[in-house]
Amino acid sequence: MGFVDHLPTRRELLVGSGALFAWSQMPRIARAEGRDPRLLAIVLRGALDGLGAVAPVGDPDWISLRGDRALVLDGKPPALPLDSFFALNPAMPNLHRLYRTGKAAIVHAVATPYRDRSHFDGQDVLESGMSKPGVTASGWLNRALLALESGGRVDPRGSRALGIGSVTPLVVRGAAPVMTWVPRKLLPASEDTQNRLLDLYQHTDPKLATVLQARMKLASLDGAMGTGDPMSDDPTLAPPGIARVRAYFAEAAGTAARYLAKADGPRVGAMGFVGWDTHIAEGAASGQLYNLLGALDGAFAAIESNMGEAWRETVVAVVTEFGRTARINGTQGTDHGTGTVAFLIGGALSGGRVIADWPGLKPAQLFEDRDLKPTTDLRSVLKGLLRDHLRVEEAVLADAVFPGSADVKPMGGLVA
């Protein structure tokens, strides 16, 4: 437990404790149908630039908006075509493959009901499922799990959810017990954190800035030369390059999949990945964002392979608190915005499409003349998944899981 040994112990460590899985975690209604669905939520903390991940290459205003930072089909490297209008960031060949086989869908111009631009509040709304921040300390996935087990057929030992990481994501916290697993690998400070620290040092302590800069240069060299050792048991000794981020993402996601795949394991889980707050040198086509998306793509591959047979009953929802400005800012990055993308992957999906009511990119079409305008409520996507995949009742979704969302209808047809 870090340097401290008296943090709350409400969570249990999964490692090597098979006894925790001594009863089935299968949602009851789905089980009655002979199904055994799994749902994993991945929260990208820091606000993913949806336009840098999935580019509207068919939009006539796209190039003028992003200039030479715009992902294009004839770029270097070329963006991966999704349909006649959208193209995927070239860092994500796995996602592209899943998409082409119908096992991935992308929702674009999507957002939670939150319209301000604070990370903390935005993540709170995203994960709590409320329409405002600071309302509750439980998450929508935990409440959905509780709802599944109600109705007089509650397992006396209670249902459980899986949380990955030393801090359980809010989305999975709540009355239903959570078991957690902490990745063995140390996640290095993200490139974004290093950039911010460098900026801070440049304004306050030039000597420290010089040292940090040298280290960052070493790390980037290491990444370019591929000499990093992501599998090292002692990652702290390796330079903090992207190799370590990739290793961390793959280990965390792959382990989540292994637990969810177990016949008597948990059926819902959640994890978070940090580093998406790309204010400086975003690098969508090559650089920070490209690297992170590549690591995420590797996590998808790890999930697919570790799920094994259970992959065909799996849905993974990848969500973020909000998007980023449509235009590039003064430091070759993007600032906090609104509309963004959500990735849905899994063998249970009816995918192969980008779901978007495209708002357009002309100044008047942007939200507050700066952000991609959200046209789809993320809650409708999540409600659709919970209803059609886990079989949570619609009334419960509108009332307990996403309170006050009766007007937001579940999106149908996401699950095969």
Partner: protein, 493 residues
């Protein structure tokens, strides 16, 4: 409190204490110098240490375990060999050609030997080493004393002297923690000469500096065993602990002093279950006759001879300057103001090395406060500072010592008798590594520590506007905490 008083209090905590913690700014109050001096009047004992073994007891415990390991290993080895002897004739009768037989036997023999060694190793490993748990318990107590202190000036002094008179747990793990308590902590605010006598006469130091087997060439044991002197202990006392390097002592002084110190050893742990591991003077190892050290003749014929030399070294003006320089360098600046060093050295000389008075002189001098916060905290101070800022008062010693080791300042394991260095150049390249540790720690505590609250309450908002801004704009609490802990405001003092 006014803003300038708050700024002064934060500087006090960073420069002379263990860093701000909840309530510590109020503890410093409006008279930082008075508050620092007042802390020196409180007892320095670790009350919780009553449950820990003395150094001699810890040493005996480990020695006993080692003896049992050896015995078990021998037993297991013999047993394995017996079984192989019983099985061997049947194996060799199957052999055809003479050549093959020889090779087969050779191979069989080496397999037997391996099996016997394996059995021995397994038997030995079945008895765990009690040294590490003792080390960890000691580490926990010492760290928690630093976390609990209002300011931590006295604890910083203990840390300083422990590093000045370092031993290494790599050589003598069982005693490393108890050594600090018994010899250093007990004398850190007393007179230098008492501290010096306590550390140089401590078995952990004798063990660490290879002095246990040093014997005079003309001593009884030296003649019988044709062995002799080890100069190391005497040299390090003069070079590192007292006078300082190149202060006028000669190679002859080192040899004479080494002769003086022969016979300083410890009671063999196997020989005496009551006193094994304690200091003893063994006259059979001692070089007979008088010795001349730094021009003075010492005619005593027992341990008193060494104590007399130590008394004179403690009173030597070079020692006063050496100690004052190191103290000022540790607390104030890599190149401390010469006037400050001279004031402290003068106090040292005038008070016969009263270390509390030297510390008081330091914090009472404007020269100790005027300079900008140019010192880079050492890893140990910095890690304790992070934990203190969150208000946590208990640590898992495995994680904690692991973190310090990662940062290059493993607790009680300096690479050489000189101890860990105190200058920026030695540590600044490790700042990148600190970022990993800060990031990791921030992740672990993000559920219980609010960076805004730490800035406002623990630091009374006395951090640079750039830091406030960076923390406010961070993408997550974790990032905010990592940036705060990595900021120059938090690492410099």
């Amino acid at each position: 409190m006014s803003n300038s008083a708050k700024t002064e209090a934060v500087l006090t905590l960073h420069r002379f204490g263990m860093g701000p913690r909840p309530g510590s700014i109020a503890a410093v109050g409006t008279d930082p110098r008075g508050a620092l001096i007042a802390e020196l009047d409180r007892p320095l004992v670790l009350s919780a240490a009553a449950s820990l073994p003395t150094s001699a007891k810890a040493y005996r415990t480990v020695a006993d375990a080692n003896a049992r390991r050896t015995a078990r290993a021998k037993q297991a080895q013999q047993q394995a060999k017996k079984q192989q002897m019983a099985a061997a004739p049947a194996a060799s009768s199957d052999q055809g050609q003479a050549q093959a037989q020889t090779e087969g036997q050779a191979q069989g023999y080496s397999e037997q030997k391996d099996a016997a060694e394996m059995a021995a190793k397994q038997a030995a490993d079945a008895i765990p080493d009690p040294g590490r748990p003792i080390y960890l318990q000691e580490a926990k107590l010492r760290t928690e004393a630093a976390l609990a202190a209002d300011i931590g000036f006295a604890e910083r002094l203990v840390w300083f002297w422990s590093n000045h008179f370092c031993v290494s747990a790599n050589r003598i793990q069982s005693m490393s923690g108890a050594y600090e308590r018994e010899a250093v902590r007990a004398n850190a605010l007393g007179r230098f000469v008492d501290l010096l006598q306590a550390v140089e006469g401590h078995p952990a130091m004798l063990f660490y500096l290879d002095h246990l087997e040093s014997m005079g060439a003309n001593s009884t044991a030296g003649i019988n065993r044709s062995r002799g002197l080890n100069e190391n202990f005497a040299r390090e006392i003069m070079e590192l602990h007292t006078l300082g390097v190149r202060t006028g002592y000669t190679q002859d002084d080192v040899i004479s002093f080494a002769n003086v110190l022969t016979g300083w050893t410890l009671v063999p742990p196997g020989a005496d279950p009551q006193h094994g591991g304690e200091f003893t003077f063994n006259p059979r190892l001692h070089e007979p006759g008088g010795q001349t050290v730094l021009g003075k003749r010492y005619e005593q014929d027992d341990a008193e001879q060494g104590r007399a030399v130590l008394r004179d070294l403690a009173a030597h003006p070079a020692t006063a300057t050496h100690v004052a320089t190191k103290l000022a360098r540790h607390f104030v600046a890599d190149e401390p103001p010469p006037a400050l060093v001279e004031q402290m050295a003068k106090t040292f000389r005038d008070t016969e090395g009263d270390l509390k008075q030297v510390a008081i002189t330091m914090v009472s001098s404007d020269d100790a406060w005027r300079g900008p916060p140019s010192k880079l905290k050492r890893p140990g101070e910095w890690v304790v500072g992070m934990v203190r800022a969150t208000g946590i008062t208990q640590v898992d010693p495995v994680r904690f010592t692991g973190g310090q080791e990662l940062l290059g300042e493993a607790l009680w394991r300096p690479p050489a008798p000189k101890g860990y260095p105190d200058d920026e150049a030695s540590w600044i390249d490790g700042v990148g590594r600190r970022l990993d540790v800060a990031n990791y720690f921030a992740e672990r505590i993000t559920g219980m520590a609010d960076p805004q609250v730490i800035i406002e309450d623990v630091f009374a908002s006395q951090v640079a506007p750039e830091v406030k801004q960076a923390v406010g704009r961070a993408e997550s609490r974790q990032q905010a905490l990592a940036l705060l802990f990595m900021s120059a405001d938090f690492q410099r003092r």
